[in-house]
């Protein structure tokens, strides 16, 4: 089962409060998740804390599932940071700004675990 979703990324106070302490496990916990509407989560058969694979033409990333009833159905939110940016749209369409919001993506259940910061960054050096 795959969910077609519109991905947006952005600040949370908790992600922000670890900005100057990115090596902390708390930064990882505050960034490596994806918020979905409860009905979307149950459609995927995923409970909070389980893992999701979010993929699109720009890449894929494994993050934990989180519930947010404030999200309309089909809207996925990942806090700004290395996990979200693994799958945002790099194209700036001539105005300098990559597509951090509104990226069509597919979401499915995964039994893999999210990579930690170091391991994720290492994938860029290969």
């Amino acid at each position: 089962m795959k969910l077609e979703a519109n991905l947006i990324t952005g600040r949370t106070a908790y992600q922000g409060s670890y900005l100057e302490y990115k090596t902390s496990p708390r930064y990882f916990e505050e960034c490596a998740y994806c918020e979905l509407n409860p009905e979307d989560l149950s459609q995927l058969g995923v409970s909070e804390g389980e893992c999701l694979k979010v993929s699109n033409e720009h890449g894929e990333v494994i993050v934990r599932a989180k519930m947010n009833s404030g999200n309309p159905r089909g809207l996925a939110f990942i806090p700004m940071g290395p996990w979200a940016n693994a799958i945002v749209d790099p194209d700036t369409r001539g105005c300098g700004m990559p597509g951090f919001k509104g990226v069509p993506s597919q979401i499915e259940k995964s039994d893999k675990e999210p990579l930690d910061l170091k391991s994720l960054m290492r994938t860029y050096c290969q």
Partner: protein, 434 residues
Amino acid sequence: MKVITDVVCPFCGSLCDDLTVKVEDNVITDIQRACILGHNKIAGVCLHERIESPMIRKDGELVEVTYEEAIEKAADILANSKRTLSYGWASTSCEAVSKAIQLAEETGSLIDSTANVCHGPTVLAVHEKGSPAASLGQVKNRADLVVFWGCNPVHAHPRHMSRYSTYARGFFTKKGRKARNIAVVDVRETDTSKLADKYVQVDPGCDYMLLNAIRSVINENEDVIPAQVAGIPKEEIIELATMLKEARFSCIFYGMGTTQSRSKYKNGDAVSSLLYDLNQYSKSVMIPMRGHYNVTGFGQVANWETGYPNAIDFNRRLAYYNPGETGASDVLLRGEVDSAIIAAADPGAHFAQEAVRCLAKVPMIQIDPYHNATTELADVVIPAAVVGVETEGTAYRMDSIPLRMKKLIDTTFKSDEEIVTDLIEKVREIKGGA
């Protein structure tokens, strides 16, 4: 024990200047009035792991070296590159920015700030239509309607609402929250929208349409609006437009929801056009919710030194600016960059994957107090003092008001300004000898 009052918080563009910090034996022991973001940043200076020593990558590992070795290596990279990207400079002082621009000019580099992934499109919108702005003091004292469009201050600027907007009590707004209406436009319910009198949930990427529908109502052309625009029923659009038209003084604070979604700079442009229409009837202003505490300052310094606010290319030995071509992400994606110097920002964490991959390929110098995602890709790492805590300096608030940040504790780390000054000197030495 030292008690330091009126401390300026070096985290977000709200630049709160009313903190009280207690210092005992050069350690910060108490911080009053800061929000979770500011508190963690200031307290973290003494608590979190720092980059203790300059480092150079050898055989894939960062190894500690002396400061002189690191400066020498960094200057060598800069002097021998054809197209250096100098990026960041938003969480530092205007004095450091000024030096960074000098270094970029002398090395023919391209220099860009974090506005590239933040309010860069806002700058473009200002070029197109202008920005009827005001100080946050004006908003506090006068605004009877505050609109948060595509921003979530409860999370990103936690004290903004109590100091300047939603709850602030001012000369004509003595009743604070009761003196004003709050409207929020966003694509999902947020902790900010929960506090609003009017919440409008716009379809993702459709802000531009909604802004223009509101303009139609303001200009008494509501008959042209269909039953629904951007997922919002016509009645609601009329309600929001009427709130704006009837307000004595309104301010639209706009955030990443406008700059990063589909229409990008055209959204800011549309806000500006909306204000033009509104100001025929009432008084209305717009202020961008700037993120890094001194990203506004970068724009100010760059403007007065080069004539351009960001994305400035010195490759032709004179300042050239064309965001979309000279933006940090654009030059990286085109594969033009052959070295990078990154300071007071973390593109490793905040650039899109393709741009990070390009950064990882080139020799990179990082200047930062803390180990972050960029450190994983850096080849020379130079630790810096935390501006606003360990060194003083000037920063500009989101409404372009300059404030002087204080030094709270002593440090052995050099400031960004000192590091860049040393780099300029070394680069001159290498180039002079060549």
